[in-house]
């Protein structure tokens, strides 16, 4: 049929119905989350007067960024077919290591920051290595890491500091420059913005680029979609999965340093439960829980929904006790919407 003209690569196939931009949009994994984000935005814009103020926007973005920095690599990991339940406490571990190393060695805090990077990456590598070696489900492996890190965080901190929090390192050498990198603010048009928003934007951009424009990204989709098929065509499945865990660890290091340098001291019990929020953001953003499908931008939208909801409730002057209920309802709705949209998009192709 089309075999005639040799230069017909750009000629449209007559069997293809022209796909409207709307339908193309419907096929995107982020769609459900964007619709959800609009709904949440409109909702709080109506019920909370102060929600639409520019200063509120800065606060919402900050709340979103603290989750979004982690949600992007967690989304990639989920597309690659795995979970990381240790991601939440890994952030705290990273902050504790950095703080305690600098304090105990009375070194420049940048030395602690660097040591923390190495140790956190080693934790990520441990997760990936255990997973690919034992072939146990990542749920079990990282649940183990989660519990072990929770215990280590508390145990080591008490052993070294005598209390459940670290000593203040605010007067130590290098603290100010580290704070500038990980926890500074700047003001744009009267709105105070935190540097984490920048980290978030950069990480999401890099994650997106890796996912859709690099070989590694192709491999992520493949190992999550059908690992055996990927292995059979020569994809390095083990290396890909370990790489994904290293990505989560890197983001945990960034988040941990932010935690440390914005408050100066770190509470060793923090971070528990956050791993689920990262996963929720990724799932709201269109990641399939079974792997092989999703997007990093979606995770950013999911994190933004989280930020709007957590701060919107405050602006609406409601009791924040209701927050978790909203988050749960949102997760269910977004997942249902995603499933429905995907079914429609595939059926009408």
């Amino acid at each position: 049929m089309t075999a005639g003209p040799g230069t017909s690569s750009a000629v449209a196939d007559e069997r293809l119905v022209r796909v409207s931009p709307l339908r193309k949009l419907l096929g995107r994994p982020e769609l459900g989350s964007v619709v959800g984000a609009l709904a949440v935005f409109l909702f709080f814009a109506v019920v909370a007067d102060s929600f639409l103020r520019a200063t509120s926007f800065g606060t919402v973005l900050y709340a979103a960024s603290t989750i979004g920095i982690m949600a992007a690599p967690v989304a990639l990991l989920m597309i690659g077919g795995e979970f990381d339940l240790s991601a939440g406490v890994m952030v705290t571990s990273s902050a504790l290591i950095s703080s305690m190393f600098s304090y105990q060695m009375t070194a420049n805090v940048w030395v602690g920051v660097f040591v923390s990077l190495l140790v956190t990456l080693a934790i990520g590598a441990f997760n990936g290595f255990m997973l690919t070696r034992t072939k146990l489900p990542s749920f079990i492996i990282t649940l183990g890491t989660f519990l072990m890190l929770t215990g280590l965080n508390l145990g080591f901190t008490k052993l070294i500091s005598g209390t459940v929090s670290t000593k203040t390192i605010g007067n130590m050498e290098g603290f100010d420059s580290a704070r500038a990198v990980f926890a500074s603010n700047w003001t744009v048009g009267g709105v105070e913005l935190k540097v984490t928003i920048l980290w978030w934007a950069v990480l999401v951009a890099i994650a997106t680029w890796i996912l859709i424009r690099t070989r590694f990204g192709n491999w992520i989709f493949a190992v999550g979609g059908e690992a055996d098929a990927a292995r059979a065509v020569g994809v390095p499945v083990i290396r890909t999965k370990i790489g994904l865990y290293l990505g989560v660890a890197f983001a945990a290091w960034v988040s941990g340093q932010h935690l440390l340098f914005s408050y100066d001291v770190v509470q060793s019990g923090e971070g528990v439960g956050n791993e689920l929020i990262y996963i929720i953001a990724a799932v709201i953003g269109g990641c399939l829980i079974t792997g092989g499908y999703g997007s990093a931008i979606g995770s950013a939208v999911g994190a933004f929904i989280f930020g709007m909801t957590s701060k919107g409730i405050v602006y609406a002057e409601w009791n924040p006790d209701w927050f978790k209920f909203f988050l749960g309802a949102m997760l269910l709705l977004a997942t249902l919407l995603n499933a429905w949209v995907r079914k429609r998009a595939e059926a009408t192709k």
Binding site: S9, N218, F221, D228, R231, A232, V233, V235
Partner: protein, 288 residues
């Protein structure tokens, strides 16, 4: 079109063996999964491996594909004795395997699947990225060359029919310069018409000069396209024939095992059997 078939008699020469298994055995612990199996694959020929479930077909495939190592016997590639380290090693030596159900990643677009594991890139250093335009175009043209006219290379490959998916996987192997194509039950889950289409592409790959190993439990499909036939039973060789040396009836009988089949054929004779003629017509339409 009939020339290669006539030349594949017992006296054939000229074509060299691309892959040769000589009395190869494989043990899993104390279980003999495969024992003394010999197989020859030549360029431009189709070697069929026939056997029922549990006959050792999968084990044989895994050895040729580099997933498992053989424990005894010799495995020759281009006349050189080898042991493959992994599937990548097999691919690098020109052996491509298309598995029955895990040939592709269903949720990924056709063009991403086509290049999976061998993606072309452009740029250097940290800015090295996929050459998406090239990937899309090449996928389309490589499929066209095999006679597969796909509507949209952006659709998830899972939305294609089983036969189409097999064809894409075969076209992929041909495009990446495979010399030997191993097909694991390519027609097992397909209807009659789809099977015919897939067999046509198998023949097209053969005509492109590849050596093909066709694993199947369907002697009708095997006889339509095959040049050599190896029968496996309980891990051992139950027969080895060339096309000229065996008839379809004999092949079918040997596969089902003498007396069992006699009974079966008595039972089935009353019903109008699904003769091989419909399939044969399909093969005559093969134009490569």
């Amino acid at each position: 079109m009939t020339a290669p078939k006539e030349s594949s008699g017992p006296a054939d020469t000229g074509r060299r063996a691309l892959v040769e298994l000589d009395h190869v055995s494989k043990f899993y612990g104390n279980i003999k999964a495969l024992q003394d199996v010999s197989l020859e694959v030549r360029a431009g020929e189709i070697s069929c491996v026939l056997g029922d479930n549990g006959a050792g077909k999968s084990t044989l495939i895994k050895i040729i594909a580099g997933l498992h190592r053989h424990d005894a016997g010799t495995f020759l590639i281009d006349g050189e004795e080898t042991t493959l380290a992994n599937p990548r090693d097999a691919l690098d030596r020109g052996i491509a395997t298309v598995y029955q159900d895990l040939a592709v990643v269903p949720l990924m677009p056709v063009w991403r699947n086509f290049f999976l594991g061998s993606e072309p890139t452009k740029g250097t250093g940290p800015f090295k990225s996929l050459d998406v335009r090239l990937m899309r175009q090449t996928t389309r043209s490589a499929l066209l060359r095999m006679g597969i006219d796909l509507r949209d290379v952006d659709q998830p490959i899972g939305t294609l029919s089983g036969g189409e998916r097999q064809c894409v996987a075969i076209a992929r192997a041909v495009h990446f310069g495979a010399k030997v194509l191993v097909l694991d039950e390519p027609t097992a889950a397909l209807g009659v018409k789809q099977s015919g289409v897939v067999l046509k592409y198998v023949a097209a790959a053969r005509d492109a000069g590849l050596g093909v190993v066709l694993i199947t439990h369907n002697p009708h499909h095997a006889y339509l396209v095959g040049d050599r036939f190896v029968l496996l039973k309980r891990g051992a060789m139950a027969g080895s024939h060339t096309k000229a040396g065996v008839t379809l009836d004999e092949l079918t009988r040997q596969m089902a095992g003498g007396s069992e089949l006699e009974e079966l054929s008595h039972e089935l004779e009353r019903a109008p059997g699904p003769g091989p003629l419909g399939g044969l017509r399909d093969e005559d339409g093969t134009s490569g």
